[in-house]
């Protein structure tokens, strides 16, 4: 019998985790947060057609970071599950938590059974009748499922962004307030020497689950509607450059300008 090399299960899992985490952290971030009017999704995404954010069902949205073909496959499966269930029973019987659990089971199974884990992190968000009823689930490549407290960040350097959100988040924010907070979080990394940078509208994919609407409440915020949400300073500067960041820091992003150096890759 041929000699088999032994690798401990711990080592295998560690390697897979490291592989997935490393690739996910290279991606651009996605922020999801609950505000007075609903749930807001803001993703840094240079593509206008390959979406990181989309609709799963009437009051349930999906956001992801990582490898596109892998999370697209999961998104499709989620839409299929939700539509089948809604058709077999009733639209009201499609809920965010069971969908998140199905994703967790699937990601967990792929992580343990296959050589290569999915390099994705996904969010299943359900909007309720009040901010207290919103559900935000963050699922990682190994099938872990986290119920997040009103906001979550996926992608590289999530800790830094989370601390910005933690400081500024409250459930009474309006859409503009929530969007500015998400933008501030996204801008807090990637600048030179750990400084803030300017993230322009052309880099963003934005959508909301609108709490007040009936039926399908997911809607994308594009073009003029998105420009209207952007802070003034980026309106007059067509191309975002470091020169514009002086104006930009008039917005309440000043406190984060220091102390972020350690987290540079």
């Amino acid at each position: 019998m041929a000699m088999q090399f032994y690798t401990s299960p711990e080592q295998i899992m560690r390697d897979r985790s490291e592989y997935a985490r490393k690739n996910i952290s290279r991606g651009r971030n996605t922020v999801v947060l609950s505000y007075a009017g609903g749930v807001l999704f803001v993703a840094e995404n240079i593509s206008t057609t390959l979406h990181k954010i989309s609709e799963l069902y009437d009051r349930i949205g999906f956001a992801a970071v990582g490898r596109y073909n892998e999370f697209e496959n999961l998104r499709t499966a989620g839409v299929r599950m939700a539509d089948t269930r809604g058709y077999a029973y009733d639209r009201r019987d499609v809920k965010a938590r069971p969908l998140a659990q199905a994703y967790a089971q699937t990601l967990g199974a792929i992580f343990t059974e296959q050589t290569k884990p999915f390099e994705v992190e996904i969010c299943v968000a359900g909007v309720g009748s009040s901010p207290d009823d919103d559900e935000l689930y963050r699922l990682t490549y190994d099938g872990s499922i986290n119920d997040e407290p009103g906001y979550l960040v996926m992608g590289g350097q999530a800790d830094k962004l989370t601390s910005v959100l933690k400081e500024g988040h409250n459930f009474d924010l309006d859409l503009t307030g929530a969007f500015r907070l998400a933008l501030k979080a996204l801008s807090s990394i990637g600048g030179e020497n750990g400084k803030d940078r300017t993230v322009g509208a052309e880099l963003l994919e934005v959508a909301v689950l609108d709490r007040e609407r009936e039926g399908r409440v997911f809607r994308r915020i594009l073009g003029p509607a998105l420009d209207a949400l952007m802070p003034e300073s980026s309106g007059d500067a067509e191309t975002p450059d470091t020169g514009g960041s002086g104006q930009h820091s008039d917005e309440p992003s000043k406190p984060d300008a220091e102390g972020g150096e350690k987290e540079q890759p």
């Binding site: 979406h51 299929r80 599950m81 539509d83 089948t84 058709y87 077999a88 069971p98 089971q105 199974a109």
Partner: protein, 279 residues
Amino acid sequence: MSGTAEFPGRIPAPYLEVGSSSFVELLGSVAPELLPGRRPLPPGDMGDAAPHGTTIVALRCNEGVVMAGDRRATQGNMISLRDIQKVFPADAYSLIGIAGTAGLGVEMIRLFQAELEHFEKLEGNALSLHGKANKLANMIRGNLGIAMQGLAVLPLFAGFDTDAPDAASAGRIFSYDVVGGIYEEREYDAIGSGSIFAKSALKKRFQSEVDATEATRLAIEALYDAADDDSATGGPDLTRKLFPTVFTATADGAKRVPDAEIEAVSRAVVAARLENPGG
């Protein structure tokens, strides 16, 4: 139930496969028992086994299309329902009405709505209006076996074509036959047992340049005339305050005309007929 609509658990394999964007095809593989065409029926004619819905009219206007349906369902010579809804929005810009076996018709509408929404979510954009109309024809073909046993359903499909150059030419109406034949109508159409009378009324009254409000009145007049001569079509029920269901599909999307507005138009039509029964 095959258990495919049950979760949590691992996502079943068919959901994770790279497949088509069709909900009907998906159900065919994960829950075929939910598709009407796959259901076995005992032999024989079952024409009187379930309530029948009757008259739907649709007409074009300079803003798009208007579709209206009466509220009656009959079983043999009995009125089985007085407030059935037979006209629905199919998606954001299109409308569907059904005549024939009510239960199967309502099921077909739900399936068609799910089909359009499913495609839109998976592909990121809606089907073209003609794409939707052809998809519906395919679904009717799947029901041919059931239809031949007396449980026929026929839809009327109409919508606002967002690809059209202007609103005045954007309204389109499609009718079908029981084998899945699809026909685009130029100005107006009606389906169901009262359709002959409704179409005759529209033939005399239809004008191509009317707006949605005027088209709504023409539709209600046509339903009144259908109810006048066809026992299976219900007229405006003033006692119970049950009036026709009317939807419009315009540049603003598919919308139900508010009940108060329909009531006012219906009462005006009835009042005018008291003066002149021939209209």
